[in-house]
């Protein structure tokens, strides 16, 4: 897990958007898993986001017209590939996040914490390689925020995905193995450390990021403004 820190306007969200291929760099390149996503077509980018990335937003951004279940299943619905097995996986995931009886509810019928848990489930249901979270606890109370961070940690360990989280919260940043502080679009500080509380040991793709920096990073942004 990697935390992006910095003041408002330092470039955290811009970096996340670039990594998530929802915004394109005016100059430079964005490499994810060896793929230069700035060279992909719009259709390829869409498929890339659908299959390899997951997003969690500060404002949850659930689709108000879909139930919690359908919101979680969105990546597969876009592929028209929601099989019986996957339906079960969605249901299991909701149950695991404490939302077993909330699948038929619409977003406006859920609390903020519940909505963010649904958003988290949507982001991980298809086992993305990279999970991007933009202030995932920013709109939640302390208790709900802690629960979301716990879940993020659990899912990170279990599914083995890299998590990049933009946050203002020192508590959230402490959960991460690596903390990068941005200032005016540039890396001010890059610290590796032991997350608190320590996660259960387990191999994961994020090991690459937790290393000393000699290993190949999963994601890299090369630009005059936002440099790795």
């Amino acid at each position: 897990m990697l935390a992006l820190l910095g003041r408002s306007g330092s470039g955290k969200s811009t970096l996340l958007n670039l990594l998530g291929a929802v915004d394109l760099p005016t100059t430079g390149a964005v490499m994810i898993g060896g793929t230069d996503i700035s060279k992909l077509s719009q259709e390829q980018l869409a498929l890339f986001r659908r299959r390899r990335l997951g997003f969690v937003f500060q404002s949850f951004h659930l689709l108000p017209s879909l139930t919690a279940f359908d919101n979680v299943a969105t990546p597969w619905l876009l592929d028209r590939a929601l099989t019986a097995q996957r339906k079960k996986e969605v249901a299991d995931l909701l149950a695991r996040l404490g939302l077993a009886d909330k699948g038929r509810r619409y977003p406006d019928e859920l609390s903020g914490g519940q909505q963010q848990r649904v958003a988290l489930a949507r982001a991980v249901v298809h086992r993305p390689e990279l999970l991007l979270a933009d202030e995932p606890t920013g709109n939640l109370d302390a208790q709900s925020g802690r629960e979301i961070l716990d879940l993020l940690g659990e899912l990170h360990r279990e599914f083995g995905m890299t998590v990049v989280m933009a946050t203002h919260s020192p508590q959230a940043a402490e959960r991460c193995e690596q903390r990068i502080t941005l200032e005016d679009g540039r890396v001010k500080e890059n610290r590796l450390g032991t997350p608190t509380p320590p996660p259960a040991p387990g191999a994961s793709a994020s090991d690459d990021l937790r290393g000393s920096g000699t290993a190949e990073p999963l994601a890299a942004v090369t630009s005059p403004e936002v440099g790795a």
Partner: protein
């Protein structure tokens, strides 16, 4: 506060330019159509009214015979009563005038007694402008006329020239003994005048012993009472005002139909303004909440939307009135052609937008905008401050409202249907019924849209069509916007379907009626009557010539004159009724055992039966020169030829009772195997050099009538397409607003992996749901309205019933059209959504 209004309003319009333009365009189109129709009809009516008033000049009233012409003796009798009232006899006929080799033009021949004229008209006191010889010629020699200078210019004629006139049944040459100039307004309104001495005019028009009218000037009600008391039966006094509105009376129903159709576009515009303003309220819900938090009162927020409504209305008025002026110049030709085809010879004056037309345009614009802004204004005023902090959009809130509207719609439909039970024959009530039915269907649209969305969701869910599901959800969640877009689109399409179904049914009925009515081979009639709607008869020698031709198997002669029935002038047709009844389409008749008695029976047309409530078996009394005579109504026949109704009786009975043996037209049946077109051409070549008549095959007449029919309804169909244009503006505006409202959802889905193609499918899906729902509802509404138009409005307007046949192909055409319109309307929103980087919408939440 005004500064804030201006900043908020113009700031919003600047950010939503296209929606603003679409809304204004919709309002302006509605205004333009209504203004154009009014101005174009006004130009035709105005020229007629002006001509009547200019011809009357100082005279205030005229005496007419209910059955058409006044015997000289009646005038002399009136003079002998020594009433202290000025009386001037007049012959007033439409003629064709030509000079040299040029094409003849329609002109007006008046015959006057210049000595009796002095107190009434100035322009007939032209003697002083003529030299002595000319004056003497005018008064004492036959076939001498004076013409006005504008006619002289058009005919390229001058004093001393010979004019060739077609008058009634024959052609005659007259000498121009002088050219006079009329001063003032009358100059343009009497620009086609030929003046003759009364005796000359009587000779020219074959009316020796008769006059058309007696003009008079009545300055006090006592004089009017005195004259009315002195009038013998069969003569009636009409004011100049009544005469000048006679064309308006004649075309009243036609005008009402056009006016009502033109107002439909404005009716659709009300929905568009409503939708546009509602969208604006939704788009600014947060801003309105913030304003309320900052202390803005409900009245101030309402005022903001009232100001926006006024801006829409103002811009719509200006653009609409200007566009209406331009459109009216194109329409006037079509409308004048229809009036000439069906009613009377008119030459429309140049179209001008007078104050009344401009006021009407402004009133329609403000009326539709203010009506359309009422509910959004109310919603804006009641916007709670908490809206400023509403974090999550509600997924479904319009259900109960849609259900309430469904109930209201069904109630309005029932009320509309109930109008037919009211004891009224007014076509206006028919239009009120149509309007209520249209409104009823519009009100049920939100609920039906919601049902359609549920149906799409039910199909798309198991098939995992997320774009289709999103489209259904998007439309269903914004029922306030989409329901109105469906209603506006539905109204325009229903209007299109109903008018086209009615016109198609009417055309089919007319074609079938013509087949039966013109089942003979050749039709012979005076040129003036056929081409210019000017009353004229056939020369007896021409009638005799035709009847004696070897190819002729049988001939049916028709004579049409006027007769007073229930106090109104009514067309009386004399013909061989027994023969005609073999093919005449009858609506009702006495039982099969009853036989038509030529001496005591008559038939009445359906429009007359509707107006007079007469039925088969009733007795009617008609005034004849020999006294009142009773006839039995033998039956009622279908008739699309005369909307004011007619009586048909035996020709011999008419000839003897009215002492009238003239013939207006002939239907000739040839021996089998002969080519009617060829023989008609031969007869025409033989007769036309001597007689101003038209000889055509009945097949040609039928196709000519159908062409006239198509010309008449071309304007009607144009109006329905213009209403469609208004609806398209609404549809495009709604889809754009919907796309913008869903921008965040789009961005979320794009972030999750939705492709551009799926985005387009989503936006297209929204358009398709709206358009198809509208098309399906419009099929039902349009068909029902077609029945209302045919059986209520047309029957009450013109007196004829049109068997209406349901035309599914119009439904299909509208469905395809709606699909194409939705496709076009979604192009821009789809491109805009696809091009917008998802990060933009996600960043600002």
């Amino acid at each position: 506060m005004i500064r804030l209004y201006v900043a908020l309003t113009f700031g919003h319009f600047r950010r939503h330019r296209l929606e603003f333009l679409l809304c204004v365009l919709g309002v302006a189109l509605g205004v333009a159509v209504a203004v154009a129709i009014d101005a174009a009809v006004g130009a035709c009516v105005g020229s007629f009214r002006g001509a009547v008033q200019s011809l009357a000049e100082r005279s205030t009233h005229a005496i007419f015979a209910v059955d058409g012409v006044i015997r000289d003796q009646r005038y002399i009798d009136l003079l002998n009563r020594k009433l202290p009232i000025a009386l001037a006899p007049m012959i007033n006929r439409g003629v064709l005038a030509g000079a040299g080799a040029g094409d003849p033009i329609v002109a007006r021949l008046i015959g006057v007694d210049v000595f009796a004229e002095k107190p009434l008209r100035g322009f007939t006191q032209f003697q002083s402008t003529l030299d002595d010889a000319a004056r003497r010629k005018f008064l004492t020699e036959p076939n001498q006329v004076v013409i006005v200078d504008s006619l002289a210019r058009r005919l390229n004629a001058k004093a001393g020239d010979i004019l060739h006139l077609t008058v009634g049944a024959h052609r005659v040459d007259v000498h121009v003994c002088g050219v006079i100039a009329i001063a003032g307004v009358a100059r343009t309104q009497l620009s086609d005048l030929i003046i003759a001495d009364l005796a000359t005019a009587q000779e020219l028009t074959d009316s020796v012993g008769f006059i058309d009218r007696i003009d008079t000037r009545l300055d006090a009600p006592a004089q009017e009472r005195l004259l009315e008391a002195a009038l013998p039966p069969g003569l009636e006094l009409r004011s100049t005002q009544q005469q000048s509105t006679s064309l308006e009376d004649l075309i009243g129903a036609y005008r009402l139909n056009l006016g009502a159709l033109s107002l439909m576009a404005s009716f659709v515009a009300v929905f568009i303004v409503y939708n546009s303003m509602l969208i604006s309220v939704r788009q600014r819900a947060k801003s309105l909440g913030i304003l309320r938090c900052l202390g803005a009162s409900q009245r101030q927020l309402g005022g903001l939307y009232l100001a926006e409504g006024i801006i829409f209305a103002s811009v719509g008025s200006i653009v609409g009135v200007l566009a209406g002026g331009a459109l009216s110049r194109g329409l006037v030709g079509y409308i004048a052609t229809t009036i000439n085809d069906l009613y009377a010879s008119v030459r429309p004056a140049p179209v001008t937008l007078d104050r009344a037309a401009i006021f009407k345009g402004v009133a329609i614009s403000f009326g539709s905008c203010l009506l359309g802004s009422m509910v959004p204004l109310y919603q804006a005023a009641r916007m709670p401050p908490v809206n400023a902090f509403q974090p999550t959009e509600r997924h479904r809130a319009a259900g109960p409202a849609a259900f309430r509207l469904l109930g209201a719609g069904l109630a309005v439909l029932a009320a509309g249907w109930g109008i037919v039970l009211l004891p009224s024959d007014s076509p206006k009530m028919g239009f009120a019924m149509a309007l209520l039915i249209a409104l009823g269907f519009a009100l049920v649209c939100p609920w039906l849209t919601r049902a359609a969305c549920a149906a799409v969701e039910a199909v798309a869910r198991p098939m995992q069509w997320l774009p289709a599901r999103m489209a259904a959800a998007g439309v269903g969640r914004s029922l306030g916007i989409t329901g109105v877009a469906v209603a506006a689109t539905m109204l325009a399409m229903a209007m299109n379907i109903s008018v086209r179904t009615m016109v198609f049914s009417f055309r089919t009925s007319l074609a079938s009626w013509m087949e039966q009515r013109f089942s003979s081979d050749i039709f012979v009639a005076p040129e003036l009557l056929v081409k210019h709607k000017i009353d004229a008869t056939l020369d007896p020698r021409a009638v005799q010539w035709v009847a004696s031709q070897p190819q002729v198997k049988s001939v049916i002669r028709y004579r049409m004159r006027k007769v007073e029935l229930q106090g109104r002038s009514t067309a009386l047709v004399g013909t061989n009724v027994r023969e005609v009844m073999r093919t005449l389409p009858m609506k009702t008749a006495l039982g099969s055992r009853a036989r038509f008695d030529p001496a005591g029976d008559l038939l009445i047309s359906e429009p007359l039966a509707g107006r007079t409530r007469l039925r088969a078996g009733d007795i009617v009394t008609l005034p004849t020169p020999g006294g009142q005579r009773r006839f039995r109504v033998f039956g009622v026949f279908f008739d699309f030829g005369n909307e004011r109704g007619q009586i048909m009786l035996d020709g011999a009975t008419l000839a003897s009772a009215w002492n009238d043996r003239q013939v207006n037209s002939m239907h000739v049946t040839l021996f089998p195997g002969l080519d009617a077109d060829k023989i008609a051409a031969q007869w025409s070549s033989a007769l036309r050099p001597d007689y101003p008549i038209v000889v055509n095959s009945s097949r040609y007449v039928r196709s000519d009538v159908m062409a006239m029919f198509d010309r008449t309804f071309a304007v009607t169909e144009v109006l329905t397409w213009l209403a469609g244009g208004v609806a398209f503006c609404g549809l495009a505006g709604s889809l754009l607003a919907l796309a913008l409202a869903r921008q965040r959802d789009y961005s979320v889905l794009a972030a999750v992996g939705m492709t551009g193609r799926q985005t387009i499918a989503w936006v297209l899906g929204q358009g398709a749901i709206i358009a198809w729902t509208a098309a399906i509802v419009a099929s039902a509404a349009g068909t029902l309205l077609a029945f209302v138009l045919a059986y209520v409005v047309q029957y009450r307007s013109f007196g004829w019933s049109i068997p209406t046949s349901v035309q599914p192909r119009f439904w299909l055409q509208n469905l395809l059209l709606a699909t194409a319109a939705a496709g076009v309307a979604t192009i821009y929103p789809a491109i805009r959504l696809r091009r917008a980087p998802p990060a933009g919408a996600l960043r600002h939440e």
